[in-house]
């Protein structure tokens, strides 16, 4: 294989590796040098990966690297894919962390948006928050606090280890001052 071909082969390899989607032949032709024989290059690249832990396959009309199917069972044991909390749950958790103990209407007031029951359920199921007592106001709403599991998840020994709000909000403090009353 010529040097020019090898340069194109490396580029195709890198491009397919780095792309989030399968790489279409049209995109390859555009990326490689004009003289490149795309078919020959892809055939050579595919041969290179034959029998390896990773293979080059054609899916959805494009090229993509995939781990070899025979390894799947051994790989799945190793890689953990912990979930991320949805944004609404993360925001609710953050507000409880900094403002606890706090009622649900108070959380909604800080977020400026309503909290769905699903959101609270996600936090409860994960054991990150728990009710503790009720507020002595009409309706006696439940007060929410974070749990020991919350501290463990964020590697905090104590709630006092949370960054101070002032450190986070130096620039924001003015912005959240209540707007002047109108009317």
């Amino acid at each position: 294989m010529s040097d020019a071909d090898d340069a194109d082969l490396r580029l195709a390899e890198a491009l397919i590796f780095a792309s989030a989607e399968p790489v279409k032949p049209s995109a390859l032709i555009q990326a490689l040098s004009e003289a490149a024989d795309t078919d020959a290059i892809m055939a050579a690249l595919q041969r290179r990966y034959e029998g390896r832990g990773v293979e080059l396959v054609q899916v959805a009309g494009g090229w993509q690297f995939r781990t070899a199917p025979d390894l799947a069972s051994r790989l799945t044991r190793v890689i953990l894919a912990p979930r991320r909390l949805p944004r609404a749950a993360m925001e609710t958790l953050a507000i409880i962390a900094w403002h606890q103990p706090i009622t649900r209407p108070e959380i909604e007031e800080i977020r400026g948006a309503a909290i769905s029951q699903t959101t609270m359920d996600q936090l409860l199921e994960a054991g990150l928050v728990t009710p503790r007592g009720r507020k002595d106001t009409p309706g006696r709403p439940t007060l929410w606090v974070t749990t020991a599991a919350f501290l463990a998840q964020f590697n905090l020994s104590d709630l006092r280890d949370l960054p101070r709000r002032d450190d986070l909000l130096a620039g924001l403090a003015l912005a959240i001052a209540p707007p002047p009353e109108t009317g």
Binding site: R66, L93, A175
Partner: protein, 250 residues
């Protein structure tokens, strides 16, 4: 905008500097003379000249720039004195200043060094389509402090960007409402009646308590003006009322 080589170009560029130390370091670096032999004294002169130029064209200067200028003027005056205790003090201060500039220069060096690295997402790329071979264990939560901070700041930002959220106040029975209702119902009641019978339908305990309070207020108001009489036989007992137009029947 004057051409770049005009005497004011540096002044106009002032806003681009991240504070006085930044400007000082830049002055030191752009010296035509050997950096190793540049004197703090010469540097001070240049800094003061730039600040003076900046104030002359009424460029707004942050307070710390002017504080630094004043301090450097003090330093210069001391360095120019004949030998003495004050000169030693000034030399010490100049040494400290030089050390701080060296520290900042090192930091710049590291920033440049980092920028020159093959940077992920800029020069080199990771796997674009990582495979999730993990359906087996999704029980764990991936939580990190930066995520928590981002969420908190985002929540506060959102609130700042909109009008403050005010929940709808519960529709409470006002005294005015109660007065109207009492006046309406009074004529239809034959005799002493429990105040609670005059309450409107209430959905929640809060609304019911509110209505009770406002109806009592209305009752008191009407008793004061003589349109009805109130009676309570014992503390916390039922409050009874009836219209005064029936007084003649008794």
């Amino acid at each position: 905008m004057p051409p770049a080589d005009s005497p004011h170009s540096l002044v106009l560029h002032l806003g681009g500097f991240e504070g006085p130390l930044d400007l000082l370091l830049d002055l030191a670096r752009t010296q035509k003379v050997d950096l190793a032999s540049i004197s703090i004294l010469a540097l001070v002169d240049q800094f003061l000249a730039v600040i003076e130029g900046a104030t002359r064209i009424r460029l707004e200067l942050a307070a710390d720039w002017l504080v630094m200028a004043a301090w450097l003027a003090w330093l210069k005056s001391r360095l120019l004195l004949p030998d003495g205790a004050e000169v030693e003090e000034a030399e010490l201060a100049a040494e400290t200043l030089a050390a701080r500039l060296r520290d900042l220069q090192r930091v710049r060096g590291l920033a440049v060094w980092l920028q020159a690295r093959p940077t992920l997402g800029r020069d080199v790329f990771g796997r674009g389509a990582p495979e999730e071979l993990i359906e087996t264990d999704r029980s764990g939560l991936k939580l990190d402090m930066p995520g928590l901070l981002r969420a908190y700041v985002a929540a506060l930002r959102r609130r700042a960007s909109q009008r403050p959220y005010r929940p709808n106040p519960p529709a409470l029975w006002s005294v005015k409402d109660a007065l109207a209702r009492l006046a309406l119902l009074m004529g239809s009641l034959p005799d002493w009646s429990d105040l609670e019978r005059f309450l409107p339908d209430a959905a929640t305990p809060l609304e019911r308590r509110g209505a009770l309070a406002s109806t009592l207020m209305a009752g008191l108001e009407m008793a004061r003006s003589g349109t009805l009489r109130l009676q309570q036989e014992q503390a916390f007992g039922p409050i009874l009322l009836r219209g005064t137009e029936r007084d003649g029947d008794v």
